[in-house]
């Protein structure tokens, strides 16, 4: 709860600031939050805006010009782009940062509201948008073709303040590339959009080596119009990076990244074990809190504050209990929040900024970190079945709380996964009891279904379910599907790897709005042995070549006995000549 309050305080403060500081138009903040098992969540948030009038007249100041022009060209009202890698471990780490609204499924996810009268116009603009963004972010976004694009009905709602008339004319399109591996080449253009370009301010911490070594990382870009009450409408671009770093892994020096076994005497052992000795050690290092500094974890320190940022917003905040002592570099000022376990730091405009979190004495009994908040829902999805013909999907959705949760479950499936909707079923099991199947409950759990079936090679399946889970219970959602056989040119070069199936998106509606994404899946399709066709072609060609002549001969030739056949004209002529000669000679 405290986590969410800190986040919400962060949100409200930033919201207040964004409204108040329309003139400045840029602010950034890094929120650090230690997680259990020596992990650290770092949430970077960069927000810049421009007035709509400036935007229309192409007068870009803090708003990135490259992105702005693409948006104008493609008639985009609102844009959300996500690059995600790894998975959020909800069991240990609790609820997601930003309530999951700033993360996507594994790979790249894009959804946007486009100004379009008709679907065809929307498709054309979508094509423009994906191709342009593909170039801008060095990602294969241009592979989001019509088979990977869906038009969600209930899962996504526009976040910005749109006039009703524009939203009525805007079409929502959603595309996802689960196989795309997010890497450094996507980070560089991302940083280039920032006013300080990652050279100063919290952006200077962002480094490809650390970001892509994180256990979970998500880069998000959200562009939306914001109309503060009584003020001019603004177009706001918000860039977010969330990463979960393993502290012990990140602390390894860059020249010695290999986790070699440490020296025997450095091991943290359980000395209470009877067999404990110098050469026998039951490790308990996981229980121990770790000392870390910003520089160790990120590999570098913050290079002063970004001069463009709104001076009222402290750029660095840490969520740890007030009892744990933190040392900050000189020149910075600490602001402790009164009603939450959060403290923020204002940076000096010059000089490096570093933070030191001390190791906690285990005997003191102080808490090392703020307990993570329990998420509204746990979601886990996996394939069932085996073989190359049929399969099934099972989603296990658990509501750990005391309130009923209502949510939309959305799947965007590739066309070669032919869903049998009639097999869609739910089974509910209350905590600590045997699962029971009942048709009644099944009808109660799924309240609405929105289903758009796939067309081969044209569009994928879109499935949106409105579900309701009673408190303290688990719902097993299952459906079966059939695997198509692709044409041999449709297989990727690594055909035997399988095909990635995008994450399911869960949007809770009540008690509060948040997003959860499951992990993506790997679907095996029947794959031909690609060396076999070659062998078969060679073999059959040879066999045909050898047998053709003989067979053709037998078919078209008339076989008769030697004495029955016609005599060849040459031979008979020769015979006649020979006969005359012999007659002459004889005669």
């Amino acid at each position: 709860m405290r986590f969410s309050s800190s986040i919400s305080s962060l949100l409200t403060s930033s919201l207040l600031l964004s409204t108040a500081s329309a003139s400045s138009g840029y602010h950034e903040q890094l929120n650090l939050r230690p997680l259990p098992l020596s992990n650290l969540l770092a949430s970077f948030n960069f927000r810049s805006n421009t007035s709509l009038a400036d935007f229309e007249s192409q007068n870009f100041r803090l708003f990135p010009r490259s992105l702005g022009q693409i948006l104008q060209y493609a008639g985009t009202r609102e844009l959300h782009l996500r690059f995600t890698l790894g998975r959020w471990d909800a069991e240990n780490w609790g609820a997601r940062p930003w309530d999951g609204t700033r993360e996507g499924g594994t790979g790249v996810e894009l959804w946007a509201w486009l100004d379009a009268e008709t679907d065809e116009e929307a498709d054309a603009k979508w094509l423009t948008l994906t191709n342009a963004l593909s170039g801008l972010f060095c990602a294969s976004l241009n592979f989001i073709d019509e088979t990977r694009t869906i038009r969600p009905v209930v899962s996504f709602q526009a976040e910005g303040d749109h006039p009703n008339t524009t939203l009525a004319n805007a079409k929502l399109l959603h595309g996802v590339l689960p196989h795309e591996v997010v890497c450094t080449e996507n980070l560089t253009p991302f940083l280039k959009l920032l006013p300080c370009k990652g050279k100063a301010g919290i952006g200077s911490l962002l480094d490809g080596h650390k970001l892509f070594d994180a256990s979970f990382q998500s880069m998000a870009i959200d562009v939306r119009p914001v109309c503060p009450p009584g003020g001019e409408c603004l177009l706001e671009v918000e860039q977010t990076i969330d990463m979960v770093l393993d502290i012990s892994r990140s602390k390894r020096p860059r020249d010695n990244l290999i986790p070699r076994p440490i020296q025997g005497h450095e091991l943290v052992c359980d000395t209470s074990k009877s067999y404990h000795s110098d050469s026998v050690c039951f490790p308990v290092d996981h229980l121990q809190s770790q000392e870390w500094t910003l520089e160790q974890v990120f590999g570098k320190s913050i290079k002063g504050a970004c001069p463009l940022t709104e001076p009222g917003v402290p750029p660095v905040c840490v969520d740890v209990p007030h009892s744990r002592s933190i040392f900050a570099s000189e020149g910075s000022t600490e602001i402790k929040s009164q009603h939450s376990d959060s403290r923020c730091y204002k940076l000096a405009s010059e000089g490096d900024f570093n933070l030191v979190l001390t190791q906690l004495d285990a005997s003191s009994g102080d808490k090392e970190l703020v307990e993570p908040e329990q998420p509204l829902l746990y979601a886990d999805r996996s394939f069932t079945g085996y073989g190359q013909e049929h399969g099934g999907v099972q989603a296990i959705l658990t509501n750990p709380g005391d309130e009923e949760v209502e949510f939309v479950y959305m799947e965007s499936l590739p066309w070669f996964m032919r869903v049998y909707l009639h097999t869609l079923s739910t089974r509910i099991s209350a905590a600590s009891s045997i699962p029971t199947t009942s048709a009644e409950t099944s009808a109660e759990i799924i309240k609405e279904i929105y289903y758009r079936p796939a067309l081969d090679r044209e569009r994928g399946t879109q499935l949106e379910l409105l579900l309701r889970i009673p408190p303290k219970s688990t719902v097993f959602l299952t459906y079966d599907f059939e695997k198509s056989i692709l044409r041999y040119t449709e297989y990727p070069p690594d055909a035997n790897r399988g095909f990635d199936v995008a994450a399911a998106v869960i949007t809770t509606l009540s008690p509060r709005k948040m997003n959860i994404r499951t992990t993506s899946l790997l679907l095996y399709l029947p794959t031909p042995d690609f060396s076999m066709p070659y062998n078969v072609i060679i073999f059959t060609s040879t066999a045909i070549a050898l047998s053709f002549g003989g067979l053709y001969n037998i078919l078209v030739r008339q076989i008769v006995g030697a004495d029955e056949g016609f005599e060849s004209p040459v031979k008979s002529k020769l015979k006649r000549v020979l006969a005359t000669i012999t007659r002459r000679l004889a005669g």
């Binding site: 890698l85 790894g86 998975r87 393993d246 091991l267 052992c269 050690c281 886990d380 085996y386 992990t519």
Partner: protein, 594 residues
């Protein structure tokens, strides 16, 4: 071409053609057998090689060692303290250790019934999530609490716990690592793999609370004793004689041999001198194990689900310690981690002669096919023969014509032969049913009774036949023809699924092609006694005696295999071989001679 065709057509009428098939059939058996015997020669077998370039075995430095040994010793103490405790308590402790270093833990209980006994237990498993992965793929490290030999897998369990803690520190894993600790190697693994693929019977096996992605490979450790070892035994046979991809065996062998300097061997051939005899022996052991189709180790249950798996068993006394074994596993896992695609490049059908020599299916399959073909040739021969009127004595001396009289055909009376063959195959259901349904302690008695019935049954049937039907020579030929046709058909199909089983049955059933009713009564009884020597019950009993096991244990294992693991060997024995033998014996005793 035309001349060839016409000469072939004229050959059809040649009476020598009708004399040839038995010789041809015999030649098939002989060539099939010789074919198999020449396979170990250098000219016919090939050296193994790594076909999948992504595997890159032994290309990385392994770091397991150093202070990990201190941790290993501590875990070994923990494991030793659990010795003899019940599964639940053991699993509690393993779960606690796994959770200690941040591995997600799940449990699964199961109860199977086979041969009147119940096999129940509880698996505990941990999923070490790949730090940057997304749960699409996984590799499995299986470490049963009991080894194949039945002793406690102490070193193995401690080693996998240490390895798990060590693996957790690496961020390079592209696949989740699943650590599976079943209470014993056979049932527990089967229950877990079934449930992982959602192919389990929910009445006996509970579903898995925690799952990861598609399984790409599995290694099992079988390391009971706390002594230093010299070599590594790689066990690779799967259920029903299915084999893992050859690349996996090679990769593990390569990591052990070329990187760690630990030689490896297969099929229990510890002293393999790479001679012809050793190669042949290794091949025969492999074929026997493949033919029986039973579980060889904890890895076997993975293979039917297209998850390549092997068991590693340290062997002998030497100077290699547990850390070396750990590094072999580390190296192999790093190799598997490199895989971009599922293992598909190399062979799935092969016979290994030694760790680094093999023959692939294209080379060895003809031998089993030739054995199966011998039955088909005889069946066709007898069919043709049954269509011709028997020659009388007078004809034979008088006429030595070069062409047969084509008008000499007769109508075939097929009802009785078809009924006998169909009836005997239907009877095959009875042993299949009783041996797989009866409780274990009555199995030896049931076997004794069945063996007696199996011997007496042909006598009774023949007696009934001779006294009621007076079967003709033609019916005798047709009966044999039908029976051999079914046998040839089944065995050639089986050869593509389980080469060894098909070959063994084909070889043991090969006399059935040649025994026939004779006029001389002593010869007839000699044939019958020869047949009873190669009767399926006799062979099963002999096999048990040779293997040094009780026939009851053998049958209990078979019943277990059938009920729990889905082994289909009993179908081949009682549904294909036994009916063919029964018909063969009836044919010898109950029909008139030609």
């Amino acid at each position: 071409m035309s001349r060839l065709l016409s000469s072939a057509l004229s050959l059809r009428r040649d009476p020598r053609m009708l004399k040839a098939p038995p010789y041809l059939s015999f030649a098939c058996i002989l060539i099939g057998l010789i074919w198999l015997l020449v396979l170990p020669l250098d000219e016919y077998s090939r050296r193994t090689y790594i076909s999948e370039n992504a595997l890159l075995p032994g290309q990385v430095h392994t770091y397991f060692g150093g202070s990990e040994q201190h941790v290993f010793r501590a875990y070994k103490e923990e494991v030793a303290a659990l010795s003899g405790k019940d599964t639940h308590e053991i699993n509690n402790n393993i779960e606690e250790i796994l959770k200690g270093f941040g591995v997600k833990v799940g449990r699964q209980s199961y109860t199977y019934g086979a041969a009147g006994g119940a096999y129940s237990g509880e698996n505990v498993y941990g999923i070490l999530q790949a730090p940057r992965g997304d749960a699409t793929e996984a590799i499995v490290l299986v470490c049963p609490w009991k080894t194949i030999g039945g002793s406690e897998n102490r070193v193995g369990v401690a080693l996998s716990l240490t390895l798990a803690r060590y693996f957790k520190r690496w961020s390079l894993w592209s696949k989740d690592i699943i650590l599976l600790f079943p209470p014993e190697p056979k049932v527990g693994t089967q229950a877990w793999v079934d449930a992982y693929h959602d192919a389990h019977d929910p009445r006996h096996v509970s579903p898995l609370p925690l799952k990861s992605g598609a399984l790409q490979g599995a290694l099992a450790i079988d390391y009971p004793d706390d002594h230093h070892f010299s070599t590594l035994h790689i066990i690779y046979d799967g259920v029903n004689g299915q084999l893992p991809n050859l690349d996996l065996i090679n990769a593990v062998g390569w990591v052990a041999g070329n990187q760690m300097g630990i030689p490896s061997f297969i099929q229990g051939q510890y002293n393999h001198q790479n001679t012809y005899q050793d190669r042949l022996k290794t091949m025969f052991r492999g074929m026997l194990s493949q033919g029986l189709g039973n579980v060889a180790g904890a890895h076997s249950s993975f293979i039917p689900y297209h998850v390549d798996a092997v068991t590693l068993q340290p062997w002998g006394m030497g100077h290699q310690d547990e850390m070396a074994m750990g590094r072999v596993i580390e190296g192999s896992f790093r190799s598997l981690n490199n895989l971009l695609e599922h293992l598909h490049q190399s062979f799935f059908f092969y016979l290994l002669m030694s760790r680094d020599r093999f023959v692939s299916i294209g080379t060895y399959l003809p031998s089993a096919m030739l054995l199966a073909a011998n039955f088909t040739i005889m069946a066709i021969f007898l069919w043709v023969k049954s269509g011709q009127a028997p020659k009388t004595e007078g004809d034979d001396s008088k006429e030595k014509s070069t062409t047969l009289d084509t008008s000499n055909t007769v109508e075939r009376d097929m009802l009785l032969p078809a009924a006998i063959v169909a009836g005997s195959h239907a009877l095959g259901m009875i042993p299949l049913f009783i041996f797989n349904r009866l409780p274990g302690d009555v199995l030896p008695h049931a076997f004794a009774i069945f063996s007696a019935i199996s011997i007496v049954l042909p006598l009774i049937v023949s007696h009934l036949l001779t006294s009621f039907y007076k079967p003709t020579v033609q019916q005798s030929q047709l009966t044999k023809s039908f029976s051999l046709l079914v046998l040839g058909l089944s065995l050639s199909t089986l050869a593509t699924l389980n080469f060894s089983l098909s070959f063994i049955i084909g070889l043991l059933a090969s006399p059935l092609s040649f025994v026939q009713p004779t006029k001389s009564q002593p010869l007839r009884w000699a044939f019958a006694s020869l047949l009873s020597l190669i009767a399926p019950p006799t062979i099963v009993y002999t096999a048990a005696v040779v293997a040094g096991a009780d026939v009851g244990d053998l049958l209990r294992d078979a019943s277990f295999g059938w009920n729990v693991l889905g082994v289909y060997t009993p179908v081949a024995i009682w549904g294909v071989w036994w009916p063919a033998w029964t018909v063969g014996t009836v044919n010898v005793l109950g029909f008139a001679a030609a």
